[in-house]
Symmetry: C2
Subunit: 799 residues, 2 copies
């Protein structure tokens, strides 16, 4: 039932934004795009299903499933079904009775032409069918919790026609305590009312100001309306609702029945005539709030003003790098969609009120490339919730009533490593050493300490949280959340965490050196000593002959090594052994070839292989996940990007570039991944040799720590214009597959236009504003004008 | 889209059980029946949707919705939707391609004939369409968690035909951690596998032995199968699945995709040929367990044996009374369906592991009419969880790991009143005074006390939990759970609870008198004094002129009186003022007429009126429920039966009988209630004057404290053969609408055949085994034979 994939990427230019256009609702049925603002998130798939949530201040819904859905975190590989919340438009030709629904659900009629068009600020469908042109657009606002929809219906025929147009917006099962809906003619809106269910009196006061209404407001008066899901559908069902068979919808309320929002607009259209509608859909606490939304957002001038405001908000997310590699799909992705996704993470913290500490800090690292001031604030916020013993909490609480939820109630051992590791990006992008001297409080004592002292406390805590062998305890998980039973008895250790600790210490020492921090010399020596000792310990206990093992369990069993038939090799220890200088050259070559042999797939590197097929009680929950899914051996992009970053560190640019390209959804893999190149998903299915048919399928989950590192790879290695201390360095890497890279880069407020190419030379040649410079450190920088860099790299063999 | 209601009730006789037959899937679309055993519960609606849960030991599912459903208590007015879990059979004529689904969903084809037949031990559908006879039966087993389905397809035409039969059993969204399904040819079953999602390591050990598989086993080898929901449906959808368009289903697995269970049986049927299939559907922890189910339940002899075993289980629920009033629908209900529902409550405690204390005790009261030994045990269990200060807990924990959940986490003030009130039924039915001398522990101290002392502690606790006026504090609710803000600050009082306390004290004093318990005379006088004082206090503070108010809030505001525009009158205080002798004759007449005027509807008495339409923060959650729903002014049958019971106490038999009849679903109200006469629902929609269209609609929730009281009304008042102390009394009441009642009654192991009629006499005449007795106390009872009673009552005016 699928036709060939056919989407295309449209390059941004001055007059319009980057676009991705999909030409069928069948070939990639789960293809989706997302919009957000600081208050809400909306994910629409190409067929009209929508997942939306808003913050009040915890995540909440206003368009529900038809049953009481569990409140939980966003799931990978989200499942759609007939009554999944959606926004549809039934279109009926009153003369012939012909009926279809746009964009595709729930009638699933094969239309004459179909386009799903995702751009940064809006999601659009263009449909032609029954000689009608249908244009549907959804966008958000810069600051409010409301979906703005517009619909245009144009009569393409030469005949006069009567067309009924029925917007159908799911409201669903709101509450067992109280739910109802009716049309409010003053507001010209369907308003559904509910009471968020609760049982304890204290919850009443907590819930009191929740936005318990859902409304669909129109700018035009409907001819009829329907608010009652069951009666709207009747025996016909959602794919052929009874109510639409009649001449009018009958104006039916829902009275402790499942609400829905359907309107009818009966239009007389001469040939060529076009009608336009505007709709607002969202939650509200009062009728007054709905009225205010109407006043604010309806009407042509408002439309234009607020559309620009939203674009203005999104444009705050422009990155500091623009690349032209010649591959439009890749370039559009990294220049537009990647910084957009990074901005989403960094600006609204994935719409979570208690982001995991590791996510929060890495998302802030991404923000260093966009709005370093926000990153600065995030780093301070994170450290202000540090325990005075140096331990970082499992999540960072972002409002006063926020609580640690879900996975953040499980103790993880890695949260201290991220800030030292991510900090160099901030310093490189800004040169702002003042951050390091900020006085910052703790979560448990009244004293403040400097940023530097906080970092050192975190490192000391990590170095102390080691066993007699000098290896890091894993507790109930490290970076890998569901590796929760390796060390829950207090003994198990993690190779990755040991390596990450080394890398964190190394990163900090380099910062101290580059920025002349004058930390205590004994302390500094201690760190150098600890680094060496830990490298030795890791090599002693984890080197498995051809790669590094993943850990040692509470019962002293090494796992992730050649003796294991499942989980024989994990990607992370290999990547971080390179990053932390733990692997020598020989080990590096061996582990790279082991990774290639055992973990590579057409969709990137798997996180481990073979995937576990049964519970291992000395490893944990990871092994119970489905083989190839999430941490159990998917192409988990966060792990894959660490590997790419480590390859770049040792100048394996060709391998790294190939893997970067695989990570971006592309037309080549689209029928397998099912995803458009609008974001990087947290994983593609792995278990490539175990379940080849499913391998490659995207999770469609756009929350991932991957993206900040992806951008870091581009900035630090492909473009290679970075700063250390006061100096700006130029050290790009050019994959053999590219003849050149050109682009622009802004760092510390300074603009560079660069052009990178390869030549038969022995060493890099940099021409800065027409002058060949000595080495790779720039001087005589033009602060006010764009600096021009012409860079030639020695042509090299494949990695 | 509805045709006329057409169901009929078939009387039980020696060869078959009582049956209710519905002849259309359209007129009462939510009509449903339920089956249970001590391990599980299955509710099937007439269209093929099924709600099933089992105990492991907490309630769990094995056939899920298509999204992650919240784990919650059973809801009233359960909502069905296209992908609601169900069990369907697609039937395809391979020659013509014609297709329909039985019983009705998901294709909703109008078939030639349709019957939904509910009997005690099975639910059956008989469908004729396309010249095929389809018979579908589901039943349970006496002890296992498995659904037993059978399907018969008969070729009614004169032609040879090839028919494909496709059982479709929803499995749904099992888990985001791991879900998959495939056909296991050794087991001849589709087996879906999952891991119950969790995040904390301690939950792993708790979940380890859960039944995480769902299977559909067949007694015949299918020609093909399908396990993948998305691909099974394709673009066609559940109402016209793509996979069924093809010749075979293609044997498709689900690999971390939503599982489903579909099989194809391709049959060659000569004219008149009939094929039969058996299916087992349920959860399992291992393949071995599935194999054992197959061996145990497949095959003709097994079928018969286990069917009998299940009937045997259900027959343990026969009641102690059989009535013939001449109204078949009413008689079948009270003789079969009512004790069946009572047995469900009393035997498996509504499949809860922490029943609310008030429910647990009232359900046990019902059990006194069926298996008094079980009631005895329940009373002891309840008292063994009493606090040594006399307070009863909010719920009774039924297994060692059970915890107080949902509403049981909110403190309610009424739990102490129920045992004294319900106890007299046990004593009347059994004469077993030994119960009263049982030594029973507490939940907080090691000492034991006698049953009597426990009861007195409970009463003393209640009498102490009163304010300066002598009125009972309501805390965060009394019988009425959501009346949670009347007294949450510690001051508010409840008229109902005060009256219930009086009634509990009175009941206990009567038991002491009737059974010569020789309790301490000072104690006894104290109770008499307290009773009088409390009656005076209630009359002083709550009598509103024409009825009793409902309470006084924390802020000293009386509510439920003539000053209120909403919640002006509540039913419970009126009923219990009668029961507790608080209302004198004049007050009684006034309140009865107030109730009639303000609370009566064609579906029974509303619990309050007018229903609240907005939150009252000094009353609570009740006022936030939808008007007419649940406690906010529905015909809440538990409250309605108290009123009926109070009318019977004062001999208002005609009013009482009318209300009893209204409570039983009947053909007259069927199109409004939407319910078949298989059980009494917890409510019918009320707010009759506010929402007349919705009024009467059944909640279809068969968990309700109503039924034990309904039966008590029949036993104590209509039949009127009861015991006090050593004596058996005869004091029936005959409504004017009945010319006679005949029936049988078993009490204390003694059988009576009775015939009650009215005559122009002044006082009751009782003829016992042919002898006219003096008064109404029986002597010379035949213990071994059936006693015959011929009773004449004085003809009387209407109440």
């Amino acid at each position: 039932m699928t036709d060939n994939v056919n989407y295309n990427v449209q390059q941004a230019n001055d007059s319009h934004l980057s676009k991705v256009v999909l030409n069928s609702p069948l070939s990639m049925p789960n293809a989706c795009a997302f919009l957000w603002n600081p208050q809400m998130l909306l994910q629409a798939n190409c067929r009209g299903y929508v997942v939306a949530q808003h913050m009040q201040p915890e995540p909440a819904k206003y368009s529900y499933a038809p049953n009481i859905e569990a409140k939980t975190f966003i799931q990978p590989e989200h499942n759609y079904f007939a009554h999944h919340p959606g926004r549809f438009f039934y279109i009926k030709d009153e003369a012939t009775g012909e009926l279809f629904s746009a964009p595709h659900e729930p009638m699933r009629v094969k239309v004459d032409s179909y386009q799903f068009i995702a751009s940064s600020n809006e999601i659009k469908w263009q449909i032609s069918h029954l000689q009608l042109n249908i244009t549907i657009i959804v966008t958000l606002t810069a600051e409010d919790v409301v979906e703005r929809w517009s619909l245009t219906v144009e009569n393409l025929s030469k005949e006069f026609r009567i067309i009924s147009v029925y917007p159908y917006f799911s409201i669903g099962y709101m509450s067992w305590m109280n739910q109802s809906a009716s049309f409010n003619s003053e507001l010209n809106a369907i308003v559904a009312d509910s009471v968020t269910p609760y049982q304890k009196v204290e919850q009443y006061f907590e819930n009191k100001n929740l936005k318990d209404k859902t409304f669909l407001a129109s700018n035009k008066k409907p001819d009829s309306w329907h608010c009652n899901q069951q009666f709207f559908e009747g025996e016909g069902g959602l794919h052929n609702p009874d109510a639409i068979q009649d001449k009018t919808l009958g104006n039916i309320e829902a009275i402790y029945q499942q609400p829905t929002a359907v309107m009818q607009f009966r239009e007389k259209l001469v040939s060529g005539r076009k009608v336009e509608y505007e709709f607002l859909f969202g939650p509200a606490s009062t009728e007054l709030a709905i009225q205010q939304m109407r006043e604010k957002y309806f009407g042509g001038r408002n439309l234009d003003f607020h559309a620009k405001q939203y674009i203005k908000y999104l444009n705050q997310g422009n990155g500091c790098l623009h690349l032209e590699t010649g591959d439009v799909e890749f370039d559009e992705f990294v220049n537009h969609w990647l910084p957009r996704q990074m901005f989403y993470h960094g600006d609204v913290n994935r719409l979570s009120t208690d982001p995991q500490t590791r996510n929060y800090i890495q998302d802030a690292m991404g923000m260093c490339f966009i709005q370093p001031n926000k990153a600065r604030l995030a780093f301070i916020t994170a450290l202000s919730q540090q325990h005075s013993n140096g331990a970082m909490p499992d999540g960072i609480l972002l409002h006063e009533k926020a609580e640690l939820k879900y996975i953040n109630q499980v103790p993880h051992a890695d949260h201290g490593v991220w800030l030292p590791i991510c900090l160099s990006v901030y310093l490189s992008e800004t040169g702002d050493k003042s951050l390091l001297h900020e006085q910052i409080p703790f979560n448990d004592i009244t004293q403040t300490r400097s940023f530097i002292e906080h970092i050192e406390l975190a490192l000391d805590y990590l170095l102390n949280a080691t066993d007699h062998r000098g290896l890091s305890f894993i507790e109930q998980g490290d970076w890998c959340d569901p590796m929760n039973m390796v060390g829950y008895k207090g003994k198990g250790v993690s190779s990755w965490l040991s390596l990450a600790t080394i890398y964190a210490v190394r990163s900090w020492c380099e910062i101290c050196e580059q920025y002349n921090l004058n930390i205590d010399i004994d302390k500094y020596r201690e760190y150098l000593f600890a680094e060496k000792a830990m490298i030795a310990a890791v090599n002693k206990h984890f080197w498995d002959g051809h790669w590094y093992a993943r850990g040692i369990t509470d019962n002293n069993v090494v796992f992730g090594g050649h003796n294991d038939s499942e989980g024989r090799i994990y990607l992370n220890p290999q990547s971080w052994a390179i990053l932390s200088n733990c692997a020598d050259d020989e080990q590096t070559e061996k582990l790279i070839s082991s990774v290639k042999e055992q973990l590579s797939t057409p969709f990137g590197m798997m996180m481990l292989a073979p995937s576990y097929t049964a519970m291992r009680e000395d490893i944990g929950r990871l092994t119970q996940k489905h083989p190839g899914v999430s941490e159990n051996g998917s192409v988990y992009n966060h792990a894959a990007i660490f590997y790419i970053y480590s390859l770049l560190k040792i100048n394996k640019i060709d391998q790294a570039f190939d893997l970067l390209k695989l990570m971006v959804p592309s037309s080549e893999t689209a029928l397998k991944t099912g995803q458009l190149p609008l974001f990087i998903p947290n994983y593609y299915r792995g278990a490539y040799h175990q379940f080849p048919e499913q391998a490659g399928r995207s999770s469609h989950l756009f929350n991932t720590g991957t993206i900040a590192w992806f951008y870091r790879c581009l900035v630090e290695h492909l473009c290679g214009i970075t700063a250390k201390g006061d100096k700006i360095y130029v050290s790009p890497q050019l994959p053999k597959k590219l003849s050149s890279i050109k682009g622009t880069r802004i760092i510390r407020g300074i603009s560079f236009e660069f052009y990178i190419t390869a030549a038969d030379i022995d060493a890099i040649e940099v021409i800065h504003n027409g002058n060949r410079i000595n080495g790779t450190i720039l001087s005589n920088i033009e602060n006010d004008k764009t600096n021009k860099l012409y860079i030639k790299l020695p042509r090299k063999e494949d990695d």
